[in-house]
Symmetry: C2
Subunit: 424 residues, 2 copies
């Protein structure tokens, strides 16, 4: 089964939007062992849309279309799809009633331009949209299945899960099975990883892909087998070999974030965390508290941007700030200890640095960062000189802190990654 994903919208081709739907759709297709062969986007232009629909019908078995179902004047998918294959548009009364009801539920009246969302190509099966006004459709033409879905990601995902995937699962033929995993690493560059793993997945049974997602590097082994069991077995063997080689460099698999790993370790150890942030400005707290259930093990944090706040809220001595400056090892340690004490947490982590683009000096350049970790009786700090920009200085600093907490809880503490590290 060859799949193609076609997203429609001028906003995509003008570069105004990050098209997250394509990755979502491909990932879900892969879970059914259906490989996506093409991603295509065209604008709200009937000629280009027609060309794309006809080309897709010629080369793909399944086409997932997203976008162009909205109520506004630039939404043309149903009309052009019908025209492309010489079909009429017909009114689907139940959809019109459902759209009216959707508005009534929120105490609002249906805008007149929403009515067009109830017209579909003749012969199409209408796919309900329980959380939005635009229904989808399945149209089979020239042995190709076109599934049309809304562009709004959450409506798309729900329709995909409830309407599209079950229909595809029922039709999918047997054959080679594909299984893949994603291993997340932090602390080593991509070509060094490739070198270190040069003899892993080298026999053609399993393909090893690499991907950078700053500041992480991901490994993606993909295995094929005649059965699910065979593919799983090959994949497991490869993942074991990678983990043997890399040890704690691999911090998680799949969608599991570093903050979720840290939360899980804290929960299991019965320990709590608090943070004190200067250069990361709340990013660390934001990531930690984004984990559902974080209130169990996260006490809170202080974003101490002003020096006065470092003293008043974290108890950093004013004399220390005067003598060493806010971006210094002693201040990082005092911040971590302050967070730990003020929040009554087991572990305190702190960041202070010069994120840029301005604020650097010869002695303390942009990219200079101190992070500190305080436990009962022990406080340590590390110094970095990162070569990135403001946003990435914040990202890598937050990641380095979380990884340090993880390694501390695992008992495999070691020097942090090598970028511009000034002190071990």
């Amino acid at each position: 089964m060859k799949a193609e994903i076609l997203t429609v919208g001028d906003e995509l081709l003008r570069g105004e939007i990050l098209d997250s739907n394509k990755s979502l759709l491909s990932e879900k297709l892969l879970s059914l062992d259906i490989e996506t062969r093409w991603h295509v986007s065209v604008g709200d232009d009937p000629a280009d849309m027609t060309d794309a629909f006809r080309r897709a019908a010629g080369r793909s078995d399944v086409v997932l279309v997203s976008g162009g179902l909205g109520p506004t004047r630039d939404d043309l998918t149903m009309k052009v799809l019908a025209d492309s294959f010489g079909l009429e548009l017909v009114l689907h009364e139940p959809s019109l009633a459902a759209i009216r009801e959707f508005f009534a539920r929120f105490g609002r009246e249906m805008a007149p331009n929403n009515e067009k969302q109830a017209w579909f190509p003749a012969g199409a099966e209408v796919l309900p949209n329980p959380i939005g006004t635009a229904p989808g459709a399945l149209l089979e033409v020239e042995d190709t299945l076109f599934f049309c879905m809304p562009g709004v990601p959450r409506e798309l995902e729900r329709m995909l899960d409830e309407q599209v995937l079950p229909r595809l699962a029922a039709r999918r033929p047997g054959g080679a099975v594909v299984r893949a995993r994603l291993l997340r690493t932090f602390g080593m560059g991509e070509s060094n990883l490739d070198d270190l793993l040069s003899d892993v997945a080298a026999d053609g049974d399993v393909v090893l892909g690499f991907r950078t997602s700053f500041p992480d590097n991901y490994l993606r082994p993909v295995a094929r087998g005649a059965s699910a069991e065979e593919a799983e077995r090959k994949l497991a063997r490869t993942c074991d070999a990678i983990r043997d080689r890399l040890g704690p460099l691999v911090y998680a698999e799949g969608e599991t974030t570093l903050e979720a790993v840290v939360g899980d370790l804290l929960q299991r150890a019965g320990k709590t965390l608090a943070v004190a942030e200067s250069c990361t400005g709340g990013l660390l707290a934001e990531r930690i508290s984004a984990v559902p259930g974080a209130s169990e093990w996260f006490r809170g944090g202080v974003v101490a941007y002003a020096n006065a706040a470092k003293s008043a809220l974290l108890g950093v001595p004013e004399a220390m700030l005067r003598e060493h400056g806010a971006v210094s090892q002693p201040v990082a340690c005092a911040m971590a200890e302050g967070a730990r004490e003020r929040f009554g947490a087991d572990l305190g982590v702190a960041t202070t640095g010069i994120a840029g683009p301005t604020g650097g000096s010869a002695e303390k350049p942009v990219g200079l960062v101190f992070v500190a970790l305080a436990r009962a009786g022990v406080t340590k700090a590390q110094e970095f000189l990162f070569p990135f920009d403001r946003a990435r200085h914040r990202m890598v600093t937050a990641q380095a802190c979380l990884d340090w907490v993880r390694r501390t809880l695992l008992g495999v503490e070691r020097a942090l990654p090598r970028w511009g590290r000034r002190s071990p």
Copy 2:
């Protein structure tokens, strides 16, 4: 000039990655009045890559290719591009030397698999990559220009700006000029905006596009003219009409974020801000401090996840927490006042709510949020009941807070957006 963007990589077609390069490339092309007509992605598969290269040569004048230039085994772009048009690969000695030097600069030795990055299709012009190991290339075949660039976004952007766009600008023909702007709104739904603006940009000279970027809605007027002046004039007229109709619903244009608008207003008013966050968990501080120069007007914040932290760090009375609970109007107000006082700021903003997925009750369901704003002598709170999920409850709460600060500074304070608002 018809442009096509072609990104290469199995990771794209497996949905492991958000392909941000396509939007970047399209946006930059538009700045040269070059419209992108197709976005295409294929995997690291020589047959599909060949098909895509040949199809692009048949329909496009310019093809921007990104990805597949790395050192790892799955990077095939140069080899397949050469094969697609019957060309040899030739070694480019200066590139090999540059790659060696790149590693030397970081005190590391070149990995052997980096050498392949110095081989290019015969006849190609090599495009230097000053911040990475993979050079790019310009290949002209069958009247089509193929620009091959790295997939790493910052390397891609630099090569695009320094190497690709100047070459395109020099070759671009005259003709219709396109100008576009992005107007960012917060607080009204897409179809209501379309209704309200139904007579704006209705004459064909200017096309008005709509886009949702949660929790915002963006408007995108695009004007065409025989000259840049004509296109600009039409565009300005349309934008004025939109702003007349929508007033302060439009908070910014282009890439300007709401936090940047707030920062600018604070700076001009000579005022400072501090935040106290419970349900937003640091998101508000993170967004505010991401604005370069934020230390001028942002004092800091407290992420008070635990009740004890709300008392100890923000001075919320323990009796108030017992009587009303942490998610309540009095506690929101006390948090905002506490932030304002402890940080010595002019304005204090606070959030407390039940972000979900758990923690709700009949009386205080998931999605219930209180936000408060404290100024000298005045503290106000608002109550919401949002129907989203954890991540979006945090996002919309942060946006509502920032918009409230913006409107307060502008003197156009009004009720916050209508989603599930419980009290005005």
